[in-house]
Symmetry: C2
Subunit: 328 residues, 2 copies
């Protein structure tokens, strides 16, 4: 299957490198508003196509699937054009601004008999899958603390008066959208849709959240999610059951899983798997779904995407964090 | 100054041992409803008095100050009898059920020209005092995660159908009162009274909270507190500022302080101080206040006690966790 890309930033480089590592898609070319940048990116990875017109990409007979990694706020309009033209799409997280967009895009994908995926690497890793399998060992779950607290060098620029995309509501930025999405995916993949969502953000002068605490309330279980782009911590994330707790090293790069028994308090390694680029797992899974036309797995992922997006939208809107695409 | 005790449990043993270690008070005797237990405890620590009548203890001319470590729900009625009889009181945390009791007890203490202290060891330790001094290094504070997640062996009994005091609303038990009080003291000693309190507890069948997440909202800063008696974690507690984060090993036994710079991400030890019994610091501070008649330090501690109690009361009542003494 022939893959093209939208976006020329670091994450697109990483994605195409991982695609090459897996060999599951053939990279054929890149789109950028700048023809020169598109050509440069395409050349770098051995593609023979480049596009500076989105319609040309959408209508190309030499492309089957497009990876979209433009600024968040542009995802929806670009993805819709691609789906309508019969292209499969892998859209970088966070997929869209709100559930309205999601439902509309899904409808278009179904009408055009193509697949729409959200790229989110953490829940596709082997260590996460081990966690999913081992979770019953913890007994009755009572609490979880899932965190992703990464100081962004762009916050230095922000403090100097320069608001980059990721700190801008115009581009659907903020800590929850950019980082909170990882621990939220972990929570919702493991525990399902919460009964109640309450977000306590620190709002920056630009209008987005620089950091915050999300409380996800389930029946007899509370999951607390922390995200921040303006402070730093390497503290692990944990899930606490009555029989013991699971600890993961990080909620976006899930590489190590440990277990602590509630009674004997001994820490025990469960799984460890370091891979320089853990995007290979999501790429492999998307390729499997496409090759096997695996509707069950597809709908599972799609529903997960929707619940995560719904949770983020609820959390934002509780606090008046609004994006341009929210305005109907 | 001659000290007597109420309560014969483990914590009272630890307190009297620490008193002996400091030499700041003379242990003279013990009270218990059981004359035999009182005598046994008194003998064990070289006291020559024992009481099975609270009035006898209150009216004894051989006692100046009483340490109260009875079940939480009994604190108020016992403390009031002692204060009215002109005894100073050190009452184990959590001091009372609610702010009404606190204000009434304080009024009685003032009228009788005696001091009323809440025993809470964590904020009196040298490492905590270093944290207080070093805090400005973190820059603008944005988030904190303070936790105390200790599986209680009494939860095994609870699961077997036996509700002990600490899991009973009748004795003003629960995770927030018993454990949450430590991280709440850390939060309020460092950051002051929160603008908003929101508690998300897991309520047990007995009516108290087995665990929960408290969100303390400050201006541009969110402190998240977790406590549990039904799960286990040894994860550290952290305070995140824009310049870097402070990490303490534990929020009740504060023995180690570390710093992580937000930019270079290097972990750096700041202070470490292991003391088998860190109660010696609170005992020393109470003795200093009494000897020097240090009203300033006394009122600082007293106000801190009141704000912590008010916060716990707000958190409980939001969730219908009510104690017998709440009924007016």
């Amino acid at each position: 299957m022939r893959l093209a890309t939208i976006g020329t930033s670091r994450i697109t480089h990483q994605f195409v490198k991982a695609v090459k590592q897996t060999g599951r898609f053939d990279f054929v070319g890149a789109y950028s508003r700048s023809e020169e940048k598109a050509k440069q990116f395409s050349d770098e990875f051995g593609g023979n196509l480049n596009f500076s017109s989105l319609n040309d990409l959408a209508n190309s007979n030499s492309v089957d699937i497009v990876y979209v990694a433009s600024p968040n706020g542009l995802h929806f309009q670009q993805v819709v054009v691609l789906l309508k033209a019969g292209k499969h799409v892998i859209c970088e997280k966070p997929i869209f601004s709100n559930v309205n967009e999601f439902d509309e895009a899904v409808k278009i994908a179904d009408e055009n008999k193509v697949y729409l995926f959200e790229a989110i690497r953490n829940i596709q890793t082997p260590v996460f899958k081990t966690l999913q399998q081992e979770l019953p060992r913890a007994g009755k779950l009572r609490s979880a603390v899932l965190q992703l607290i990464q100081y962004s060098s762009r916050y230095d620029q922000f403090l100097d008066g320069k608001v980059t995309n990721i700190f801008s509501p115009e581009f659907a930025g903020g800590a929850l959208e950019d980082l909170g999405v990882y621990p939220l995916y972990v929570a919702i993949a493991l525990f399902g849709e919460p009964e109640k969502v309450a977000y306590y953000p620190i709002k920056l002068s630009s209008g987005v959240d620089g950091s915050g605490t999300v409380v996800l309330a389930y029946h007899d279980f509370i999951c607390t999610v922390l995200c921040s782009k303006i402070t730093y911590s390497d503290a692990p994330s944990e899930i606490h059951g009555e029989k013991g707790s699971f600890r993961i090293n990080n909620s976006s790069n899930i590489a190590r899983l440990e277990w602590i028994d509630a009674h004997d308090k001994v820490l025990e390694p469960v799984a460890e798997h370091f891979e320089a680029d853990d995007k290979i797992y999501e790429i492999g899974n998307f390729a499997d779904i496409l090759e096997q036309n695996d509707k069950t797995e597809y709908l599972k992922l799609r529903n997960l995407s929707r619940v995560v997006l719904k949770t983020m939208e609820t959390a934002r809107k509780q606090n008046g964090i609004l994006f341009p695409n929210d305005k109907d």
